[in-house]
Symmetry: C5
Subunit: 84 residues, 5 copies
């Protein structure tokens, strides 16, 4: 997974029918790259999130053919620390 | 997913039999990289689009073996804004 | 998919048994990266081709376990133009 | 697979329900890139580990839809040497 | 696939149970990147090999959940030449 920060939201009125209903957020990774990820958690601008990518992201959706290759799977707690 | 801009169209008269019928568009990502994506929406030159990649792109097609690893899944609205 | 140019051919006498019979071509992408792709079309040195990657490439083969992660799916026509 | 070094741990109190129970470690690859990987082995800060990525990482989990695209599959022994 | 050169071997005494028995070799790609790949062929230090990556690599193993995302599929012959 990768760590990213929510930087915006994107709307697409004209899209294929299999996109699940929900928010598509723009996130910025630690290297400055930008991705569009599906957000099932209702994340806010500036929030630090955890992103999973590829077919693993699509498998979150009950529909077999959700065309989603990036998914927010968690909001990162601020008090994240060193490994045990 | 990634954001890209349609920059051209590509024709391939000699191809394998499992390519679905439809347009193959050249798109340019925000980093300047170029991809060829299948377009089910009829997008125009210059249009901002949303691209999904990998096996997730192929799963859009009813045929199990569509050799498509990049798919336009939506046209991006101009009034895209900050996250809520 | 990505656009690439055929730059060579590769032979492997000692290989695992599940590689399909056929040509393995070296192709060079627009960024100068080199890949080895399976060629079902009989492409020639210098030809512009379209490459699909990942599990989508393997799904072209009837054998479920073809270890091919890059496949030439078409030869690109010279008169490729702007999007409609 | 890639070689990486454990550099921290991450907590996510608010997350989707399908994340497996266990530690999410931050690892740093040889190129300096940072990834978040699921750790089934109880690795410590500074430990050298082997990471697998993509749908292969998710297939480790009995649940079909674990949203994990990076997995620590082993701790690397110090006396690693040249190939035979 | 990508071309790489065997540069070392890696041992992992503590690992998850689903790693197949066999050698894990370090290989260096043409761009200087290092990967760890499973070697079913018994390749030697310095040997030029062909690597497949992702879920395609895992599908080589009869066990459905082999956590292997890079596999040596062939040793490259020295007299590799231009495409026909």
């Amino acid at each position: 997974m990768i760590r990213a920060r929510v930087s915006g939201r994107l709307w697409s009125s004209r899209h294929i029918g299999t996109i699940p209903t929900g928010a598509l957020l723009e996130v910025e990774t630690e290297t400055g790259a930008k991705l569009i990820a599906f957000d099932p958690l209702g994340c806010a601008e500036g929030e630090q999130v955890l992103i999973t990518q590829g077919s693993v992201a699509a498998s979150y959706f009950p529909e077999k053919t959700a065309p989603i290759d990036a998914l927010i799977i968690g909001s990162i707690d601020q008090q994240t620390s060193k490994a045990k």
